[in-house]
Amino acid sequence: MRRLISALLLSAMALLPALTTAWAADKVKVGFLSTLSGPGGALGIDMRDAFLLAVKLNGGKLGGLPADVNVVDDQQKPDVAREAIERFTKRDNVDLITGMVFSNVLLPVMPTVLNTGTIYLSTNTGPEDYAGDKCNPNFFAVAWQNEDIPGAMGEVMNQRGLKNVYLIAPNYPGGRETLAGFKRFYKGKIADEVYVKLGQLDFAAEIANIRAAKPDAVFFFLPGGMGINFVKQYVAAGADKDAKLFTPGFSADEDTIKAVGEPMIGILNTSQWAADLDNPANKKFVAEFQKEYGRLPTMYASQAYDVALLVDAAVKQIGGKVEDKEALRKALTEAKFDATRGKFRFNKNNFPIQDYYLREVYKDAGGRITNKTIGKVFSDFHDVHAEKCKMK
């Protein structure tokens, strides 16, 4: 028993070094919590790399203050994320949290973040929950609302005269909202709407069912490795000859294209960003990202990069006084910065108002397979939930 006491005391002492990290002023402390491992890991890694690149290009600073970016892997598990958030808010006292990829990780932990009055900047998912009547002054969706990009694809499929579309997505909020967004704009018939487990990698059974349903086209939203496997297996089964694939930009990003190769050519997808968008900020971003990491950036990377630019601008505007949360929030909502995607401003629900483009995967002159912007689907698009937001 006496030994038990000493064991307890020893373990308490082991924790002490961690206790001393907290205080230090004159810094912007960013908690960057993202999915860095597993099938969804590529997305988080792209975001982290882009965010750190932006900070590095800025001389290690954000808004003139040295940036202290604490990167943590959430392993795509809400409980892991929840513990990381506890550390960020209660131990490290960060000024901002950002970086989460998946809505099923973000949604369970967001109440904790918001309850502590910490600002969250979403580098990716923009769930309906915080777009409508539960919009929150501390929640900023810097990428898009979940329905925007699939909605744009629904519009495209109308224009192309597709009448019978098969839908497949993972069974999580992002997946369900994506299909809801698609259906909000798409006017034809739905052959079937199938939800698979998030992280599923073998789609043999689903592909056989798709083929048996004989749709005109397939709209799929399968982020990360899921989409890569789906496209490969779909083409291997020869199903693409009967029904073409359409997708939001997530499953036609540069990582997916690189992994799948030739079978991707010709796939249409929508996005708020493309590597070939012609503006100075984007040109710099694409060039610097390739120089730093030796690969093409994805839309995820552009989103995280834009978050860093936004923070930089806002902190600069308030003269580095990050303790003044109210001022920081106000500066963020005004969002005066040159985004890689071009036009960008916040709606009253802190979700973006921006343009959406149609892209096509093609092989460029140098034999490289990549996306080409072939048109604009929506201009100055306001997400459909903003009206219900009571802010301002």
Partner: protein, 305 residues
Amino acid sequence: MPLSLIAEQLLNGLQLGLMLFLLAAGLTLVFGIMDTINLAHGSLYMIGAYIAASVIEASGSFLLGIAAAIAGTALVGVALEMALLRRLYQRSHLSQVLATFAVILIANEIVRMIWGSQPILLNMPSALSGPVELLGLRYPAYRLVVIGVGLMTAILLYLLVNRTRAGMWVRAGASDREMAEVMGVDTRRLFTLVFAIGAALAAVAGALLGPLLAVQVGMGDNILILAFVVITIGGIGSIRGALLASLLVGLLDTAGRAFLPYLFRQMFPAVIAAEAGPAVASMLIYVLMAAVLYFRPTGLFPARG
């Protein structure tokens, strides 16, 4: 429901079942002969997949990748058996579960250190990346090859166990260890050999499934549980039981995922069907396992009396 769909799903089930058999065969032999639970079997599968992926990427040859995976994983298996498993044969099942669980943790991290956290996405050999026509059915060529290799391995293993001297020892060992020792079998060498064969079979499954799934840290953790379901249903120690149970589980799982939602939609209101179909489908094989154990507490084909 079109006949071609049923046929296609049957093939899918067969493919899953045969891959499960490759995993389960090694597991059931180790279990049957050495009375040892080896959770680290899933790690051998993962290591096989990683070796295959690395060699294929470096050399461009798929066959070379599989050969390297078999040889490399068998070596890892031998090392694991001699360094650790040997010490566990006489220990309780609890100790075996925990020690081999520790091996999973260690193996996952070592793989992460060598290959990183990112999944390796392996492409199928280009010659096999398209579909083939099969009695009016378009089926992925690669999956057909997987089925073929699985069948061949199963037959080879059957012949090895039932027709060779080493196989006779293995069967003797599985049904009565003391008897095997009396017969003059060098059980230490036999155990190592069996372990190496089990590791090699797991590597074949890992290498073949690599291009279909993703080669990633922890990939063996869930398929390991499926393999345990298989050997428990089949009866621990029985190769025949493992084969039949693999096919049963493979077909049931695929059929459940493919047809149950459809079936439920015919039987229940859409709201309930959409929920219950996938739920029941994903639990199906575990329900089967619990039911088998309830009525036959030692599986379908117990190797021991």
